[in-house]
């Protein structure tokens, strides 16, 4: 490649970074989705005095730059002496951030199931949880899954910001190599971009496909 001086060592170094990117994405999505489901359920059916404060609190996470959330929480946990390593800090902050978006997705999904359908289910003798399990979940998923896939991709890209708290993920590892081989900056950045793209693009296609398929079935 243009007689490049990039070695296999550099590529593996970047791949390790990419692995970390995926690991953070995984934990953030796991934590964020679970929390988001709980919060979403609560928000969808609680009285306003629970719903509003909760909404306002989660809204803060969506109104402050993620970069600043990373730096701020990192600084907070250090002051509080929690001794978390940067990887854990990254996962925790990103999970909280994810949960704020996931809450809205879940709330929207539940809201998308017509009330009449749910009333019908209940009058057929289904319990609340049966109604949730057999009516709301399958119908709501059609609305929720495409958004959730979009969220996953968003989170994957947002992991690039953990750069700021010293986690050597994909972008940071590329930057480290550029430090030593500045004349290869473009090639290295292009490889990093390609890795992001190759992970993100197929998943986003899948999301679009599901959305289209389900819309046609409606």
């Amino acid at each position: 490649m243009f007689g490049t001086s990039i070695t296999w060592g550099d590529i593996t170094f970047m791949m390790t970074g990419a692995g970390l990117t995926l690991a953070i994405t995984f934990w953030a999505m796991l934590g964020g989705t679970l929390a988001g489901m709980v919060f979403g359920l609560i928000r969808a059916q609680s009285p306003w005095y629970v719903n509003y404060p909760m909404g306002a609190l989660l809204d803060v996470l969506r109104s402050v730059p993620l970069l600043i959330q990373f730096i701020l929480f990192n600084s907070f946990q250090s002051i509080a002496g929690l001794n978390m390593n940067p990887f854990v800090v990254g996962c925790v902050v990103l999970a909280a951030y994810t949960s704020a978006y996931c809450t809205e997705i879940v709330r929207g999904g539940i809201g998308a199931v017509p009330v009449t359908t749910r009333k019908a289910a209940r009058s057929l003798g289904m319990s609340y949880w049966q109604d949730m399990r057999y009516i709301v979940l399958p119908l709501g998923t059609r609305v929720m899954l495409p958004s959730w896939i979009g969220l996953t991709l968003g989170v994957m890209k947002d992991t690039a910001l953990v750069y700021a708290i010293g986690v050597i993920e994909l972008l940071r590892s590329s930057q480290i190599i550029i430090t030593r081989k500045p004349h290869e900056a473009l090639v290295i950045l292009a490889i990093a971009g390609l890795i992001y793209f190759l992970v993100s693009f197929p998943v986003s296609r899948l999301g679009a496909h599901l959305e289209k398929k389900w819309r046609e079935n409606d």
Binding site: F2, V60, R62, S63, V64, P65, L66, L67, I68, Q69, I71, L72, S75, F76, I79, A80, G81, L82, L153, K157, D158, T159, A160, L161, Y163, L171, I178, H183, A185, L186, L189, A190, A192, G193, Y196, F197, S200, F201, S204
Partner: protein, 241 residues
């Protein structure tokens, strides 16, 4: 409860408030400009993606997919450090020295790199939003306009576009908030005059990370709320009938 051996110096942070608010203005400026550029290009990309010319479709597709499938930080980094690298490569191959020729437009200052990067990102996301919005305007509207004597451009500009903007106003507001939040990645390409840049410099000088960034977070939150509130007001004025 916790082993806190840290005393907060809030006073130091509040003293820097005027400086930080100046930074917030720069942040807002970048966000607004990047939105304006993003909206214009976004509309063009939305049209290009559904155009009959294959080259236009390809161009729009590549732009949209790259903008949506790579991190914004990466895009800004690429524009700041990547484009000059392309030029160096070209210069190396053809033996041209762009700087010696006085061609400096590609050596973007941090401010412009962030602006261009975020506008690029906005355009990609907005294009998809606009395509959805265009689909929401029934084709009968265009036909009705044409039969009333509007030409193609006018019927798009005066009939279709306003209805589309109405359909996508809410996602556009979201994009505006994102644009504000995205400007914070400017610190990675040398931007030191926006809110995050100013905060980071104060932090590096004083090592008072928590105080300064907490204040910055509060300012970002207020800006975001003002923008969403303002948008709601505008929507109420524009779209009631």
């Amino acid at each position: 409860m916790f082993n806190i051996n840290y005393t907060f110096h809030w006073n130091q942070a509040f003293r820097a408030l005027p400086q930080m608010l100046e930074g917030a203005l720069v942040t807002l400026q970048i966000a607004v400009l990047s939105m304006v550029i993003g909206i214009v290009i976004g509309v063009l990309l939305a049209l290009a993606k559904d155009s009959r010319v294959a080259a236009l479709r390809w161009f729009a597709n590549i732009w949209i997919e790259v903008a949506r499938n790579t991190p914004a930080l990466f895009q800004v980094y690429m524009i700041y450090f990547g484009i000059p690298a392309v030029l160096q490569l070209v210069a190396g191959v053809f033996g041209v020295n762009f700087r010696a020729l006085g061609i400096n437009i590609f050596y973007l200052d941090s401010y412009w790199a962030v602006l261009v990067g975020i506008a690029f990102n906005n355009a990609g996301y907005l294009a998809e939003t606009f395509r959805g919005g265009l689909r929401a305007v029934p084709p009968t509207q265009t036909r009705a306009a044409r039969s009333l004597g509007f030409n193609a451009v006018d019927s798009f500009r005066l009939i279709v576009l306003p209805q589309m903007f109405r359909a996508v106003f809410h996602p556009m507001t979201n994009q505006m908030v994102w644009a504000i939040l995205m400007t914070s990645v400017g610190i990675f390409v040398g931007l030191n005059i926006d809110l995050t840049g100013v905060t980071q410099e104060l932090n590096a000088r004083t090592f008072r990370t928590f105080e300064f960034f907490a204040l910055a977070a509060a300012i970002y939150y207020v800006i975001a709320k003002i923008v969403t509130g303002g948008a709601r007001l505008i929507a109420w004025r524009l779209f009631r009938y």
